[in-house]
């Protein structure tokens, strides 16, 4: 026998419902935007000139300041450059990094939208939600690491192609990647575990009068 949940009517007011719908729509939009942006970016990787962001350590010139304040010291750490003559391996690595990153974002966005829907239906603590959150967590952790690895490989390959001895060049063997999503992935895995407990507690309340 199925027991109807009263969570939605008992706990969610109109503003909660609005916020959940807003989150679901925003998550869906972010997911779609990530995929569309990735397709466009990957398309631009296979032309003659490829736009890339390389790590660098270049001093900021002292005469960059012309006002009353002066620059004591400073450096640029990134440069947006357009490079030609990149080999296919680097292009595929960059494309892979962008694709993995976008797919990770899309999967997490879909999970958020599905979670909002489950909360709106008044039954968030179901097995499918626990699995979805666990999958999103693993995807986020693995996706971030894979995308970072591919990006670093591509950057090193490009830097090596730009300068035979990159240690003394403008662009040394360096790569920067945002590992923030990795932390979010770890948080999501804890949330998935909490949902597993919630699922058990919800099961315990079924048939309670």
């Amino acid at each position: 026998m199925k027991f109807r949940s009263t969570v939605r009517t008992a706990v969610l007011d109109r503003s909660d419902v609005f916020v959940l719908w807003l989150f679901a729509v925003l998550a869906a939009l972010v997911g779609v935007a990530a995929l569309v942006t990735a397709v466009t970016a990957i398309g631009g990787l296979f032309g003659d000139a490829v736009p890339v962001t390389l790590s660098t350590v270049m001093p900021v010139p002292a005469d960059a300041a012309t006002g009353t304040a002066t620059i004591v010291s400073g450096s640029f750490d990134r440069a947006d450059v357009v490079v030609s003559g990149i080999d296919m391996g680097a292009r595929f690595a960059l494309a892979g990094s962008i694709a993995v990153s976008a797919l990770t974002t899309a999967i997490v966005a879909a999970s958020i939208a599905a979670l909002c829907r489950a909360v709106l239906r008044g039954r968030p603590f179901v097995r499918s939600m626990t699995w979805l959150l666990a999958t999103a967590s693993i995807t986020l952790i693995a996706g971030t690491l894979i995308a970072a690895g591919l990006d670093t490989a591509a950057m090193f390959s490009i830097v090596a192609a730009l300068n035979p001895d990159p240690m003394d060049a403008v662009f040394p063997f360096m790569s920067e990647y945002d590992f923030g999503p990795l932390l979010i992935g770890l948080v999501l895995s804890v949330v998935a575990t909490a949902f597993q407990l919630g699922q058990k507690m919800q099961r315990d309340t079924e048939g309670l009068v």
Partner: protein, 76 residues
């Protein structure tokens, strides 16, 4: 060991008999106790797996009976 989710609880609710003895309907009991008809129906048909003390005492107060009169062990 607690019973599995789909197993019988081994508890029979005598709500039907007590209501009949007092000439009271489930709807009236629902109004007086403040528990939905759906939940009372679940209780009446032995489909409940747990009952709050507050629900139990409220029903017994309205029906003027002891808890042991409302809930008995189901005969196999």
């Amino acid at each position: 060991m607690p019973p599995a989710d789909d197993e019988a609880t081994g508890v029979h609710c005598r709500l039907d008999e007590l209501l009949a003895e007092r000439g009271m309907s489930l709807t009236e009991l629902s109004k007086r106790v403040g528990v939905s008809i759906v939940n009372l129906s679940v209780l009446k048909n032995d489909r409940a797996k747990a009952i709050r003390f507050s629900t139990l005492t409220a029903i017994c107060e309205v029906l003027d009976c002891e808890i042991g009169e409302l809930l008995v062990r189901a005969r196999p």
